[in-house]
Symmetry: C2
Subunit: 203 residues, 2 copies
DNA sequence: GAATTTTAGTTAACAGCGTTAGGAAAATAA
DNA sequence: TTATTTTCCTAACGCTGTTAACTAAAATTC
C-alpha cells in the first residue's frame, strides 16, 4: 500500500507540529509556561496523543535542543566559510555563536545553561559538531605551535567559557547598554583569538 | 509574660530549621527533589505550617540565596584582607568566589545561574556587596588610570563573565581533569588582573 | 458486502505538586 | 469552669505529567 507513505508523512508532520507548538509556547511564555495540555491545544488534539510521538515531556526538550545544535552548527559553518583569514574566521564563528544565542535565547538556555540541573535532567549535546568546528579552526590558527589534542581542548574550553559567561551575564542583564556589551564581546573574542597565535608577553 | 520572648525565639528557630531542611534536601536530591511536604517531614510538621513562616516556596529560595550572598560576601572580604598587594588581593578574592561556587554548588546555581528563567522567578541579588567589594578592589588596581564608574563596571562585568563562564562549564563537566581546570582558572584570573594595570601590548 | 481487527482519538483518572480553607485539640485567660 | 485564642492537622482545590480504559471510525480480512 502506498498509503503507508502518506500516513508516515502525516505522522512526521504531527511530530514536527508538536515541536513547533512547544517552541512557540516557550517563546511566548517562557519555559515555565510550557505544558502538555497547552501543546495539545495548539495542535488541536488532546494531551495523551503527544505520548504516541514522544516518550515524555523531556523527550520534547531534548529533540528541541538537538534541532538547536543542528541549526547552530549550520550557522557556524556558514560563518567560517565567509572568511579566509584564520583569525577573522574564528572571530566570525564566535560571532555567529553569539548571534544565535540572542536570536534563540530560550533554546540557548536549555542547550548551554547551568540551569537544567534544577528542572529537568541534564541534556547532553548529542552531536558536538560546534565543538569540532571550533577545535578545527583553533588548530588551524595554532598550526605553528603544533598543539596536542589536549591543548586544543583546553583552548576551546577556555574560549567557550569566556563567551558563555558573557552571554549568560548579558541575558540576566548587567545594566550596561547593548552597544557596550557588543563591544566587550568583540574585544574579548579578538583578544583571545590573538592570544592563540601571538606569544604571551606576560608569560 | 516573658514567655513571649521564648515563643519568639522558638519561631525564629522553626524558621531557620525550615531553611536548613530545604537546603539539606537540595544538597541530597538537587533542586528538583525539593518540595513543601518533604520540608515539612524533616521539621516534623505538616506542609501548611510552612506558610506561617514563608509566603510560598519561592520565598524560601530567595531567603536561601540571600544567606548565600551574605556568606559569600564574608568569604570574599576575608580573602581580601589576607593579602596586601592589590594584584594578589584581587586574585585571592576571585579564588574565594570560585571556591564558594564549588563548595555550594546548588546555591551558586540559584544565585548566579541563567537557569532560573525556567523553573522559578528570577531572583535578584538583594545585597550586591560582592559587586561592591570587587569594584573597589578593581578601582584600587586601576588607580593610575583614573577609571570612571562606567569603566569600572565594564571591567567588573567582563571579569565576572569570564569567571562565571569557567564555573558554569566546569559544573556541567568538560572532560578535563580537576587540576587542569584549576590551572585554567588561575591563569585566567592572573591574566585579567594583570590586564587591569598593565598596558595592553596588543592594542 | 459483512465481520473482524486495527487504529486514532477521546474521556477519566492517578499521583504528585503548591497552596488554601476549615476545624479539632490544646493552651491560655477570664 | 468557661471563653478565647493559638497551634496544628486534615481535606481539599487546581495545576502538573502521565496512564488506562474506552469508543468510534477506518482498514483489513473473509
Amino acid at each position: 500500500m502506498a498509503s503507508k507513505d502518506r500516513i508516515q508523512r502525516q505522522k512526521e508532520e504531527t511530530r514536527n507540529s508538536i515541536l513547533d507548538a512547544a517552541y512557540a509556547i516557550v517563546k511566548e511564555e517562557g519555559w515555565e509556561g510550557l505544558n502538555m495540555r497547552k501543546i495539545a491545544d495548539r495542535i488541536e488534539y488532546t494531551a495523551p496523543i503527544i505520548y504516541e510521538y514522544f516518550a515524555n515531556k523531556n523527550a520534547i526538550l531534548i529533540e528541541l535542543t538537538q534541532k538547536g545544535y543542528n541549526n547552530l552548527t549550520k550557522l557556524i559553518r556558514v560563518a567560517r566559510d565567509t572568511e579566509t583569514d584564520p583569525d577573522l574566521k574564528l572571530q566570525a564563528m564566535w560571532t555567529a555563536f553569539w548571534d544565535f544565542a540572542f536570536a534563540n535565547k530560550e533554546l540557548y538556555q536549555v542547550m548551554y545553561g547551568v540551569e537544567m540541573k534544577c528542572c529537568s535532567q541534564t541534556i547532553v549535546p548529542p552531536v558536538e559538531t560546534p565543538f569540532e568546528l571550533f577545535i578545527n579552526s583553533i588548530a588551524d590558527l595554532m598550526a605553528d605551535q603544533q598543539p596536542t589534542a589536549a591543548e586544543l581542548k583546553i583552548k576551546y574550553y577556555t574560549f567557550f567559557s569566556v563567551i558563555h559567561g558573557l552571554i549568560s551575564v548579558n541575558m540576566i542583564g548587567n545594566g550596561l547598554s547593548d552597544a557596550t556589551n557588543e563591544q566587550i564581546f568583540k574585544d574579548a573574542v579578538s583578544a583571545i583569538t590573538k592570544s592563540l597565535y601571538k606569544e604571551d608577553v606576560n608569560a
